[in-house]
Amino acid sequence: MSTIVSLPDQSTARLPKVSYLNKEYGLKSWLLTGDHKRIAVLYMISITFFFFIGGAMAALIRLQLLTPYGDLLAADTYNKVFTAHGLIMVFFFLVPSVPATIGNFCIPIMVGAKDLAFPKINLLSWYLYVAAGIMMICVLTFGGVDTGWTFTTPLSTHYLNTNVVTAGLAVFVAGFSSIFTGLNFIVTIHRMRAPGMTWFRLPLFVWSHYAASILMVLGTPVLAITLTLVVLERTIGIGVFDPTRGGDPLLFQHLFWFYSHPAVYIMILPGMGVISEVISTFSRKRVFGYTAVAFSSVAIAVFGFFVWAHHMFIMGISNYSALVFSLLTMLVAVPSAIKIFNWAATLYKGSITFETPMLYAFGFLGLFTIGGLTGVFLGSLGMDIHLTETYFIVAHFHFVMVGGMLMAYLSGVHFWWPKITGRMYPEGVSRLAAVITFVGFILTFFPQFVLGYLGMPRRYAAYPPEFQVLNVFSSAGASVLGIGYLLPLLYLTWSLKYGKIAGPNPWQATGLEWQIQSPPLTENFDKTPIVTHEAYDYDWLANKTRNEVTTVG
């Protein structure tokens, strides 16, 4: 009997008879569910679908750029492809990735609640996501859209005859999906915590989601109204963004980036939460400087609202504004630096193991550090002039979003996979996938920094021949990267049926979610837990395990 507590030996673990997965059967029980865990699974399936569509677009982009002459796709097709890649990856993958899947699954359990505060709104948010997704698919089916994901006016309003309106409305609807997710998280974290779960006992995953949710709730509506204005401008020509009627295209930039810069933090903060959990668990040590990491999340969220105009340094904002926004951009880099060093210091005197989530987390540390530091290049006014709108931006963004966020997402998916499905993924092949992803990523995106400094502009369907060598490296890397992303899809699907039974706490982690069965019951807990320990209290876990051995055994 004592074997159940001396995991990760899973030989005697069995799947529980009743769990959220088999409480009810049938499609209807899934599509009308209020259970946050089921909604998380629905989200996971849908964002995976969109990730691979966006990934296919990326593959087309890299194939096109293999040669300098634009042999594969016509220029307008290429424009549609990179626009679809951007829109899908940003609004249909990155924004909902960790929050809507892992966050949805874990946050209620982590705070000791039975569900999110508003289960129906949670389901509504998934349906909004699906509706937006269907609109996006319609856009792609009926001729695509070639605005670029930034919808820049007056290009999007007056100079294109593609499906801009539908695409804009799709993003509008997707935005409300994200607002409702954020709103649900904030209320849940404030109001649904179990007795004894004080703010400073919350896992850092919850803190980072809290910060991201604030950004979702306060930033997204500005995007909504901006896109509404774009749609109105395009359909009836109201003139607010049209310079020939006295409107100001730069106002669009201001309003767009007021959301879309914080959106970057919406995308990365939840990933940072994953990294805190994973690094702590696999070094069996509490996160170094818990308070600093928690507050740096909030600081990123707050400062995130003050830096949007750094996307517009050369676009005609006043020099004084450029100075202020550059200064604030430098300040927002500091909390990220704090996080990186605190994670590194967490390893100190730990007892480190190298399971797949940890490998992905190491990948995150390296790639996010590069991504963050190159962000400082771009925040620096004079350097930005040369680097902006080139492949340097592309590389920087992908280092943060793919090297950072996607690594964090995969780390989280592997980490919580046993909890979500009750089964282990195959450790050997998944470690291989983590390494392949890291190598493929570096090969794909590092050459783009060099291309950027050489001056190769982004969004070019064809380019001068001297840039070809680096582009070939990049495309070659992308094929490696593609394998790295396909592997998890295959072996995780395989593991649903054939994976080893995980048992409640395969990693011996301290979070509340690991103290219940895997997969959990629909109500998460038999009885509301009472929390007496801090997050990452491994002594508490060891003590609890000892008691259990005596009680159970």
């Binding site: 220029a75 424009n79 670029g148 820049t152 007056p154 290009l155 007056h158 310079p243 020939t244 295209p249 040590k285 509490r286 170094f288 400087g289 818990y290 050369i314 676009m315 005609g316 020099n319 880099a333 500091v334 590194a344 390893l347 005197k349 730990g350 007892s351 480190i352 193991t353 190298f354 190491f362 540390l365 390296g366 550090t369 590069i370 530091l373 400082v376 290049f377 925040g379 620096s380 006014l381 004079g382 350097m383 002039i385 040369h386 709108e389 060099v450 050489l454 001056g455 502009p457 982004r458 369907a461 064809a462 021949p465 001297e466 840039f467 070809q468 060598v469 680096l470 070939v472 002594d539």
Partner: protein, 360 residues
Amino acid sequence: MQHFISPVLWQFLVKWLTHFAIFPPEASSIAPYADALYFFLIFISVIGLGAVAILVTWFSIRYRQSRNPVATQIEGSTILEATWTIIPLILFMITFVWGALLYFRIYSPPPNAMNIYVVGKQWMWKIEHPGGQHEINALHIPINQPIQLTLISQDVFHSFSVPAFRVKREAIPGRYTTVWFEATRPGVYHLFCTQYCGTLHSQMIGWVYAMKPDDYQAWAAGSTSGHSLAQNGERLFASLGCNSCHNSTPNAHGPNLASVYGSHVQLANGQYTTVDDAFLRDTILNPTLHEVAGYAPIMPTYQGQVSEDGLIDLVEYIKRLNSNYRIDQTIDNSAGQPVQTGATPAGTSAPPLAPGAVKP
């Protein structure tokens, strides 16, 4: 070597290697300053990344489970955390100041800069030299001479980028922007549009020809269209009827425009403003927004009637207008005084051209 692999592949490799570039040429006076900051930033990035990499690697080896089975729980360390807060902060502040200085170097043209107008449109760059040379997707400039570009877009956002000079500036619809550079090495350099501007964005590219001053003079003399921008502007000024109000006769309704460029004028709302290119352009299109004190707001708008090229001609004309002599004469002529028409020899009137302009 080529005997061991296929000749096609060999050709390919050779082509690659000859085209292989990892650093752009430094061809302007600004480039070394930009590169210095770039290397500084790379330096601190390597330090930062190195610090993280060393810590992570060392801890991973030293504290792996097989070597350190029991973790020691540590709360944190205020001193350490303060250290890695303050050191990055200082480095980022240095970067900020350095970057700001570079920014103002790039965007503050020196007073002796030679002005060239650039109009961006889907999908080409139209370059207009004051001497009347027009170019598409090509820019000829002399080296060792500060060049100021005044950019505007006719439709959507474009961005004028010359990587070899490390300068870039957005061409905005409805507004002039400026950037300057001084080429230091003769050569042919890429000119890109870097702001996504629609279907043929990737074909909105061209070349910058940096030439020795003598070569440039030869090119300028050989490429002129026959009329300087100011001369085109003068014709436009007359054909639009601007001269009926803007002259120096006693019954002129509008301000006298001679030598108005660069002066400070008081607006109807009491504020003072400097007359620059942007101000001139705006007053032609939106006269009500810049009512000059002492004049009735009767000027019609020319929005939609003058192209960006025409506006540039007008601006260039007014910029170089030192006297109203020729305007008044045109008025007299059109007022129907045939006696004096032929009596004014063209040669005696002072041409309103600045010395820099190239004559036909």
